[in-house]
């Protein structure tokens, strides 16, 4: 399989700089949108090469189908189904075809029959996000939530460069109306956008690098029992939060400077006291998409407890599969679905079993940490090897591991739960002096980290 080059180096900075310059200088809204569209396609081209044609074709065909849906009412449903089929067909081909071929090959190998070969497929970067944007828009137009936009607006909605690689999945109903106002940028947007970008870079280059390093070391460690498994998963969880929320901050910051507000993705997720609550705070643009376009259409919680549990399991399994064509992701989704079902069951049938909030907080973080190992492992064998330490005979407590575990517990759930991060951000928002100090510190920390030669890895969610 060909690997896309995901470096966001000189070339993209160059195109972004050109685009922003054009954006600020051109004399009309239409030209500004055109500038953004050209920059967006140029950036996608630098990353995906010829596959930029796929982006254009999906967008154009989708646009035509939705236009037809509005013109010919008798074809509405057919057009919607066609749009969904087109998008998920493309997603299936690029992302899942080889996975399913591999599974068939395994089955045929067991029965002695020959399997078919996998295809050498280059995956367009951000295809999952492109598809979810497209499907969401088609359904919203079908439901009458938004009128069909102009072709240019729609192309820009799908290809808009701050969000195309890894979201946040912003609804067309929120995005497209903003295009009429993109010429007016309050200076405060420039300030807060730049601050968001700085915060994102700090999370990515400093925080994610530190916890990523711990994860790298712990995942191959030999002894430590359940404490090792927890610490490894917790470090990966904190790494992933810093990595993904860092990316989101950068994307939202860039977009805010351009005058377009993108959806929020995180709300102190490790402060959650249940897994259901976690999904209302983690990758919110995806979880709300799944809620609105999958879980609720399946029936949501409207048809009794068994059906609710079934819907939850389907939604979370597909959520896992959305992240990647691998059994590790499927199991991760199923595990979350099962625990959410158990929470639902307990809440409705056994309410007296409700534990104190702090215990629920820690248990939730512990569960999340264990399941992050599934998410992070390249295959089931690697995940099993690391998770296998859980059943090891107790060994003398490793003081460093204990310290790291306590640190993750403090930095993850406890500080989030008690609102420390939120209060700090609020105070920074209100006070220039504190903002000056924190921002200076972050710039220096980033510079030191870069000087140390830390390799800045690609953002994890670019793979999805």
């Amino acid at each position: 399989m060909l690997a896309p080059d995901l470096s966001l180096g000189f070339y993209n900075s160059f195109y972004i700089a050109l685009g922003v310059a054009a954006y600020l200088l051109v004399p009309s809204n239409l030209l500004r949108q055109l500038a953004l569209l050209v920059v967006s396609y140029a950036i996608y081209w630098t990353i995906s090469g010829r596959l930029v044609a796929i982006l254009f074709l999906i967008s154009t065909i989708d646009f035509l189908l939705v236009s037809l849906m509005l013109k010919r009412t008798e074809l509405r449903r057919l057009c919607l189904v066609s749009s969904i089929a087109l998008n998920f067909g493309v997603l299936f081909y690029f992302k899942y075809f080889n996975f399913f071929v591999d599974q068939f090959k395994l089955i045929f190998a067991q029965t002695g029959a020959a399997g078919t070969g996998a295809l050498d497929i280059a995956i367009p970067v951000g295809i999952s996000f492109i598809v979810f944007h497209g499907v969401g828009h088609s359904i919203d137009v079908y439901r009458g939530k938004i009128a069909q936009p102009r072709y240019l607006d729609y192309l820009l909605y799908i290809a808009y460069f701050p969000k195309i690689l890894a979201g946040p999945i912003t609804r067309s109903v929120e995005f497209i109306p903003q295009l009429d106002r993109i010429g007016r940028i309050p200076l405060d947007n420039l300030t807060s956008g730049a601050e968001l970008i700085l915060l994102g870079l700090f999370k990515k280059i400093v925080v994610a690098a530190i916890f990523g390093q711990y994860w790298n070391e712990l995942q191959t460690a030999k002894d430590g029992g359940i404490l090792l498994v927890y610490a490894a998963g917790a470090c990966y969880g904190l790494f992933l939060l810093a990595d993904f929320s860092g990316y989101t901050d950068i994307a939202r910051g860039v977009s805010r400077i351009l005058g377009i507000e993108l959806a929020r993705n995180f709300d102190q997720p490790y402060g959650a006291t249940s897994v259901s609550n976690f999904w209302r705070r983690w990758h919110m643009s995806l979880s709300f998409w799944l809620r609105d376009y999958l879980y609720i259409p399946l029936g949501g919680s409207r048809y009794g407890l068994p059906r609710t549990i079934f819907n939850l399991l389907v939604t979370m399994t597909l959520c896992g599969l959305w992240h990647g064509a691998a059994w590790t992701f499927v199991l991760w989704g199923v595990a979350h679905g099962l625990v959410m079902s158990a929470e639902r069951l307990t809440r409705e049938k056994l309410p007296f079993l409700k534990l104190p909030a702090l215990i629920r907080l820690c248990l939730t973080f512990f569960f999340l940490s264990l399941t992050w190992i599934l998410f992070a492992s390249p295959d089931l064998t690697s995940a099993r090897m690391l998770l296998g330490h859980v059943v090891e005979a107790p060994s003398p407590v490793n003081s460093q591991l204990l310290l790291l575990s306590l640190a993750t517990l403090a930095l993850g759930p406890l500080l989030s739960y008690f609102g420390v991060y939120t209060r700090l951000l609020r105070r920074m928002e209100a006070g220039n002096a504190l903002a000056f100090a924190v921002n200076t510190f972050m710039i220096i920390a980033i510079a030191i980290q870069l000087w140390r030669g830390t390799n800045v890895s690609e953002f994890v969610y670019f793979r999805f």
């Binding site: 954006y23 090469g49 940028i185 309050p186 300030t191 730049a194 903002a435």
Partner: protein, 339 residues
């Protein structure tokens, strides 16, 4: 009406205090620490060494090991033209045929016009081979990059390396032919400027020669490189840039020479189209620089038949030609200068 920035009374102050001043304060602090350490004669080491170049560092550690065992070490440094085109085994075999047996030859070149990076690294690591053969190219100096992170390596890069910034501005903004050559490459080959997919995986021999194959047909490979180099040479190379380059060469090489390394300059052979692209002053400057540094040199294009040497893209020698050329280098450049 162009886009306008609307402001409230507090907006400019917020921007100043929250964004601009932190940048200035952080830069001032970093520069202060850097200048202070420099004044004290202390130098911040490049901590990328040993981490950022894993494959190349393995070869480097073999060279260090050989040196520690008391062997004489001959190291080649330079860009991909050296990395692909010098076969250390062939050089060593040629020397052994002349009864020179206590020598170990390594190719420490790193692709990406990296002579400056390599020299700095060798100097910082305190590694001084007995003979250092430097692959010569002007591009190596005013346009070198870090192979892995593409980040400059010193805190002072933004104060000391203004040439890099100037050339970047020239290439990207003033000199549009460079951008156009990228576009042309994409239209011809489908390879985006971010690149990465035009070569098969590079494998390094134990002594550091890269064995590489293009994924594209030969005519496309030639056209691809021709466009890229047209872009690079579209930058005006001024006299002061050449002078700065020579001074940098002298400064970095003087450290090696002070520690007893015999420094030689080598220019790899180029095919006709690449020679045409090179400006006359650059062709002449190898001899000038060698005279300036007082070091022996060899121009690969003076080897009989050099222009016709087998090359997939006109810039890098193919493996059979690399072996032939390496033998020539051993007999005509290395051997006569070996103490």
């Amino acid at each position: 009406m162009s886009a306008n920035l609307s402001t409230s009374a507090s907006s400019p102050r917020r921007l100043l205090v929250r964004v601009l001043l932190p940048i200035v304060a952080a830069c001032a602090l970093i520069a202060g620490v850097n200048i202070g350490l420099g004044a004290l004669g202390l130098k911040l080491r490049d901590s990328c060494w040993g981490k950022c170049y894993p494959e190349y560092d393995v070869v480097y550690s073999r060279a260090v090991e050989a040196r520690n065992k008391g062997k004489r070490v001959i190291a080649f440094i330079g860009d991909s033209r050296i990395e692909w085109g010098i076969d250390p085994e062939a050089v060593q075999a040629a020397l052994e045929r002349q009864n020179v047996r206590d020598v170990e030859v390594f190719n420490l070149a790193i692709p990406g016009r990296n002579v400056r990076t390599m020299l700095t690294r060798l100097n910082e690591a305190g590694f001084h081979p007995d003979m250092l053969v430097v692959g010569y190219s002007h591009l190596s100096f005013y346009w070198s990059k870090n192979y892995v992170t593409e980040q400059p390596h010193h805190l002072s890069w933004w104060t000391s390396d203004l040439t890099r910034i100037r050339s970047f501005v020239q290439r990207k903004i003033v000199v549009m032919p460079y951008a156009l050559s990228e576009l042309q490459n994409f239209l011809r080959t489908g390879v985006s400027p971010a690149g990465g997919s035009w070569l098969d995986e590079v494998t390094l021999s134990p002594r550091g020669q890269a064995r590489v194959h293009y994924k594209m047909p030969q005519d496309e490979a030639v056209a691809f490189q021709k466009n890229a180099y047209k872009g690079m040479y579209s930058v005006a190379m001024t006299d002061d840039m050449i002078a700065e380059t020579n001074a940098s060469f002298l400064k970095d090489m003087s450290v090696q020479r002070a520690h007893g390394a015999r420094v030689l300059l080598l220019k790899m052979p180029l095919s006709a189209w690449a020679l045409d692209l090179e400006r006359a002053n650059e062709r002449a400057s190898l001899a000038d620089l060698a005279g300036y540094l007082k070091v022996p040199f060899a121009d690969g294009n003076e080897v009989p038949g050099a222009v016709e040497m087998e090359s997939f893209d006109g810039l890098h020698l193919a493996p059979p030609a690399a072996t032939i050329f390496s033998r020539w280098v051993a007999e005509n450049l290395v051997l006569p200068n070996l103490k």
